[in-house]
Symmetry: C2
């Protein structure tokens, strides 16, 4: 009936990983439904069917869960963006801007997390967790930079400026575009507030097209 | 010993206004010291020497106090920016970008508030308070737009794109540049994290110069 110790460790590692995946999936699903801002640790524990104290054996804080989702978001978005850039026919600023705008706007939870990370998420986790997170983002920026160098001849600083504008504005515009149903109704019913209605994708596309056109000029 | 009713009303209006000004000044001072994120209603009440319940006779919530400071920040920044733009000798994108970057970077509390407003401040106040706030920002954007039309011939959409990029990135970059002493030390001591160190003014100047150059191209 006994099993080799290595097999038991493997099973326990797998079980731990399965739990972590379930916790992240629950947090992502709640974040998609109601916005990251309104999801508490208690909500996540309830969604995944664990006690809060048990959940804290897997993650330090609510913020660490969402910072981990932000890191996953960077890897997944960067892969999708680089796939798009590799098949972009011409090195035209408008095409590159379109690749950034459409891949970001298609990922609303990631946009929400991009705005939350520097304000809230990075501030309530261990230094080690922030270090790991920053290394993930800088690695993905370097991979994106290789494509931008090939397509448009951008240098390292221009890549950092472009990626921080794309991700910074995706986060900021998403927050403005998703003010909740009460405010959205106010913006659309009061004609004086027409300009308060923000559409993420077209505005992001215009901003990045202008930025890239000007960078190459 | 009695005084005319109109004089009493005036005194009471003045007293109310003096109280509101003191509350806003206390909130601004605490926000400058420790960041908006870490200032509670209890902190503001203690700083101004009132009970929390008394303070709530002047403002609905903590968020309304900071939203009012954000509106004040828009008026004050817009005035400074337009004064700079009126004395800008040439209609050069770099000069206009410099006017935006230097006036925003010189106002750290306003940068902090710009990032907090759509995420947190607009979501915990009455619809009336958000409406008033939006009308202030749209009015200032229109005034800034008149200068940008005169200098660079920007239309309404280009002005909205520029001002949202300037204020959105000022907020996002300020949050990244001000991660607190613990994280700042991590970024400056781990050589792998060199690119995590952000300087608001030069990056904002480069981004807006590229945007304006591209917009005019």
């Amino acid at each position: 009936m006994t099993q080799p110790a290595s097999f038991q460790r493997a099973r326990s590692r797998e079980a731990k990983q399965a739990r972590e995946t379930a916790i992240l999936e629950a947090a992502r699903s709640l974040g998609r439904e109601r916005g990251i801002r309104d999801v508490t640790l208690t909500d996540i524990a309830a969604e995944v069917g664990m006690h809060k104290s048990a959940l804290l054996r897997y993650f330090e804080t609510r913020e660490q869960i969402f910072l981990e989702l932000t890191a996953e978001g960077w890897r997944e978005w960067s892969t999708a963006l680089r796939t798009r850039l590799r098949t972009t026919p011409t090195a035209d600023p408008a095409d590159v801007a379109d690749a950034f705008a459409t891949t970001l706007a298609a990922r609303p939870v990631f946009c929400d997390l991009l705005a939350q990370a520097p304000l809230n998420l990075e501030r309530n986790v261990s230094l080690e967790a922030v270090r790991d997170f920053k290394l993930v983002t800088l690695h993905e920026v370097a991979l994106i930079g290789a494509e931008l160098d090939r397509l448009l001849g951008l240098n390292e600083q221009q890549t950092l400026d472009l990626v921080s504008t794309a991700t910074g504005m995706a986060g900021a515009l998403w927050q403005m575009a998703t003010p909740g149903p009460r405010l959205r109704e106010l913006y659309t019913t009061d004609p004086r507030l027409g300009h308060a209605v923000v559409e993420v994708e077209p505005r992001l596309r215009r901003i990045l097209t202008a930025f890239l056109t000007g960078t190459r000029a």
